[in-house]
């Protein structure tokens, strides 16, 4: 019965994948057979993945480390600035509009400027990743810090708790579900940010992260490699998301409605 239930949930998406791969193979082997560089078949993509595994792995590790740095910076800067803004309406009104600009600025357009300022290396990539993943953290943390139940605030007030105690024993733990929601959005964004950053610095180096390799593979019309790289980049983002989700689950599983089975 249990196995039946498991099959019931896992079989349909696997079937969809198989059908998708078959259709894809059909297209590339029969319809676009004479233009294999446009649409290499899945088998060739896998072959390219295996034969280039060493390079792809190194590139993925590089992108991962850049995205992780950007993400961790976004968490610390984001939570700190939301914490400061949550302490006074005046501070919030003064700084929040500029936090929104972080979200609306077209990162692709700003990236070249960042590279001019910080150089054609990892540092620029990390900063671009930071910029793109910062806003969801600021926004969600601030919302969480401001949504503490009024009764709990009164309870703490009744027992003369200081601003400091109020923040660490009440507002911050109450905001964790919101902070984690923000982190889940930013996890994927930080990887995208890192790859955008690599695109911009790309032309200079040949042994950079996934973004650099993508530009390189495109330039040489190695479409199969391009596919393998895209797949890897997607997986890296997914891995990030899953890690953050698991961490969030561990933190919230005892008490928050979203995680209580």
């Amino acid at each position: 019965m249990d196995i039946k239930r498991k099959l019931y949930f896992t079989l349909p998406p696997i079937l969809v994948l198989i059908i998708f791969l078959l259709v894809w193979s059909g297209f590339s082997n029969f319809i676009y057979a004479d233009m294999a560089f446009l649409l290499p078949s899945p088998l060739i993509v896998v072959q390219s993945f295996i034969s280039n595994f060493g390079d792809i792995f190194d590139a993925a590790m590089m992108t991962l480390s850049e995205a992780l740095s950007g993400f961790l910076l976004a968490i610390s800067i984001g939570i700190t600035s939301a914490a400061i803004m949550s302490q006074s309406k005046l501070l919030e009104r003064s700084f929040y509009p500029y936090a929104i600009l972080l979200q609306t600025v077209p990162v692709v357009a700003v990236a070249p400027l960042i590279v001019l300022w910080f150089g054609f290396d990892e540092r620029s990539v990390i900063i671009i990743s930071l910029i793109i993943s910062l806003f969801p953290i600021i926004n969600n943390t601030l919302l969480g810090l401001k949504s503490t139940s009024i009764n709990l605030v009164e309870l703490f007030q009744m027992h003369n708790s200081s601003r400091f105690v109020n923040f660490f024993k009440l507002r911050l733990p109450a905001a964790t579900p919101h902070i984690i929601a923000g982190m889940r959005i930013s996890a994927g964004l930080s990887v995208i940010g890192a790859i955008v950053g690599e695109f911009i610095i790309g032309s200079g180096n040949s042994n950079g992260g996934l973004g650099v390799q993508v530009i390189y593979a495109q330039g040489r019309l190695e479409t199969a490699l391009l596919f393998a790289l895209i797949l890897t980049a997607t997986l890296v983002g997914f891995l990030f998301f899953i890690t953050v989700s698991t961490l969030g689950h561990q933190l919230l599983r005892h008490w928050h409605e979203s995680e209580i089975a």
Binding site: E154, P173, E257
Partner: protein, 242 residues
């Protein structure tokens, strides 16, 4: 531990006039209940006595050294703390309790309210009645001079409510705190209090103060004619309170 409320009024910023000049003296060890129609300002009065909000006019006097505790309508527990850690909370906020003392006192008070064995549970695993027990335990562990109860039993079912009323009565009898309860349940008011204060609709002012003379408060009291008569009398006053 006399608490005196003198000439207290409250106008909220939006222009709502919540309380008319209100005078009330609450004696040490007394159990006093404020009843009134919804929105008459009884919760506002309780928060003014607690010092959580300031009155527009008038003042509340209580001894400087007195310790108060507030029990909220929805129990107001910290969902991320287990039962024992919730019971320790107020001892962390108030100075002067060592870590060891907090644990000992928390376990002791949890036993007192019948939550022994649930120390490591989380609030979402408790029933409404158990949450309220924990909320009471958290307040009583401080040995407060006065306890302010804001409709604490309005969210539990009828049966649990009666059991909890009896438990609150026992706790009050043995730990001797001054209690001010706000409720719209007249039976509850008569069962628990020495005096019942009836407020008029907004802006709330005192229309009657009724003495409740019962010495023994047990289950039999609820079905006695004199109990029913007092409940009826106060309900009548509540209805014609303006």
């Amino acid at each position: 531990m006399t608490i005196s409320v003198s000439g207290v009024t409250k106008h909220f910023n939006g222009g709502v006039h919540a309380l008319s000049p209100l005078n009330l003296q609450i004696d040490t060890g007394e159990f006093i209940t404020v009843v009134g129609p919804s929105g008459c300002g009884k919760s506002t009065l309780l928060r003014i006595i607690a010092g959580l909000i300031d009155p527009t006019d008038g003042s509340v006097n209580k001894p400087d050294t007195s310790m108060g505790a507030f029990v909220f309508q929805d129990a107001a527990l910290l969902p991320w703390r287990n039962v024992q850690k919730n019971a320790e909370l107020l001892m962390e906020l108030e100075d002067g309790f060592s870590k060891k003392e907090r644990v000992t006192k928390a376990l002791e008070v949890l036993k007192q309210v019948g939550l022994e064995g649930f120390e490591k549970s989380y609030p979402h695993q408790l029933s409404g009645g158990m949450k309220m027990r924990l909320s009471l335990a958290r307040a009583l562990v401080l040995r407060p001079d006065y306890l302010l109860l804001d409709e604490p039993l309005s969210a539990v079912d009828e049966l649990t409510r009666e059991v909890l009323q009896e438990e609150i009565h026992t706790l009050w009898k043995f730990t001797k705190f001054t209690a001010i309860l706000v409720t719209h349940n007249v039976t509850e008011a008569v069962y628990l209090s020495n005096r019942v204060v009836v407020l008029s609709p907004r802006p709330g002012k005192i229309t009657h103060i009724v003495d409740i003379p019962f010495k023994e408060r047990d289950r039999k009291l609820r079905s006695s004619p004199k109990f029913a008569k007092l409940v009826g009398e106060i309900s009548g006053k509540l209805r014609n309170g303006h």
